[in-house]
Amino acid sequence: MFRIQIIWIVLMLTVALMSAAMIYAKSWPGLAAAIMGFSVAKFLLVAFYFMDMKGANVAWKAILIAFSGLLGAVVILMK
C-alpha cells in the first residue's frame, strides 16, 4: 500500500515537471523527447504498480514495455 502512495507522488511530480518544462524550457530542443520519455515512464508505472502487472507473466510485461517504448520512439522521430 505504501508503495502505491510513493508511485502516486512520483506521478504527480512528473506531471508538475512536464508542465513546468512547457513554461520555462519551451525552446529546449530535447523537450519533446523528454516529455515522451516521462510519459512512457508514467505509462509503465501505472501499468506495473496500479494495474499490478508486476505480478503477471513476463510476456505481458514485454508487450507493454515494447508497445510504450515503440510508440514513444515513433512519436519522437515523427515530431
Binding site: M1, I4, Q5, I7, W8, L11, M12, V15, A16, M18, S19, M22, L31, A32, I35, M36, F38, S39, K42, F43, V46, A47, Y49, F50, M51, D52, M53, G55, A56, N57, V58, A59, W60, I63, F67, L71, V74, V75, M78, K79
Partner: protein, 200 residues
C-alpha cells in the same frame, strides 16, 4: 468463457506466472491491448498529419489549455490511485474499500466536468470538429477517451450495486476486471496528453 474465470489460474510452474493471468483477466487484457493499439495507430496517424501540416498543428496546439490538461492528468491519475487502493482494500478485507471506490468515481466525475468545461470553451472559440485537421483529431481522440471514462464509471457503479449478491471471490475478480478497464483510461490519457497538448 467468463472474464472472471480467466483470473483464477496463477501458477503454471512454481515461481512462474501463468500466461492466462494478467490482473483483471485474459479477456479484459485482450480488450486493453486492442484499445491501446487502436489509440496507438491513431496517434501515429496524428503525428503523420502533423508532418504534413506543421503550421496548422503548431498554431492549433497553442490554443489548447496546458494547465487544464495537466489538472485533468492529475485528477485521472489520482482516480487510478484510489482505484488501486480500492482493489487492495477489498482483497485484504478492509471496510474502507467503498470509500476508495467512491473517491475513484468522484475523481472520474471531476475529470468529466473539467473536460466538459474545456469542450465548452473550445466550442465558444469556434474550434469544433471540422475546424482543421488538428481539432478533428483532438475531438475524436479526447471524445473516445471520454466515452471510455464514462463506461468505466458505469462498470464500477454496476459492481457496487451487484457485488454483495455474489460470492466474495467472484466479486473480487469482477472488481479487478473493472479496475483494469479504469486504469486503461489512465494509460490512454497518458499517451494522448503529451501528444495533443505538449509536444507541438
Amino acid at each position: 468463457m467468463n472474464v472472471s474465470d480467466t483470473a483464477v489460474d496463477n501458477s503454471a510452474l512454481p515461481g512462474q506466472k501463468s500466461f492466462y493471468y494478467p490482473p483483471g483477466g485474459l479477456l479484459m487484457w485482450i480488450v486493453i491491448l486492442l484499445e491501446l493499439f487502436t489509440f496507438g495507430i491513431a496517434i501515429v496517424i496524428f503525428m503523420y498529419s502533423g508532418r504534413q501540416e506543421p503550421e496548422v498543428f503548431h498554431s492549433s496546439a497553442a490554443r489548447l489549455d496546458v494547465m487544464m490538461g495537466s489538472v485533468n492528468t492529475v485528477v485521472l491519475l489520482t482516480s487510478g490511485y484510489y482505484m488501486a487502493r480500492a482493489v487492495e482494500f477489498y482483497r485484504t478485507g478492509r471496510k474502507l474499500f467503498k470509500t476508495q471506490l467512491l473517491l475513484t468515481l468522484l475523481a472520474g466525475l471531476l475529470f468529466i466536468i473539467l473536460k466538459s468545461v474545456e469542450y465548452t470553451h473550445k466550442i465558444g472559440q469556434g474550434l469544433t470538429l471540422g475546424s482543421n485537421t488538428f481539432f478533428d483529431f483532438y475531438w475524436m481522440l479526447t471524445g473516445f477517451h471520454l466515452i471510455h471514462v464514462l463506461t468505466g464509471m458505469v462498470i464500477l457503479l454496476w459492481w457496487m450495486y451487484t457485488a454483495h449478491k455474489r460470492p466474495r471471490e467472484t466479486a473480487l475478480s469482477h472488481l479487478e476486471t473493472g479496475a483494469a478497464f479504469w486504469h486503461l483510461c489512465d494509460l490512454i490519457w497518458l499517451l494522448l496528453f503529451p501528444v495533443l497538448y505538449l509536444i507541438y
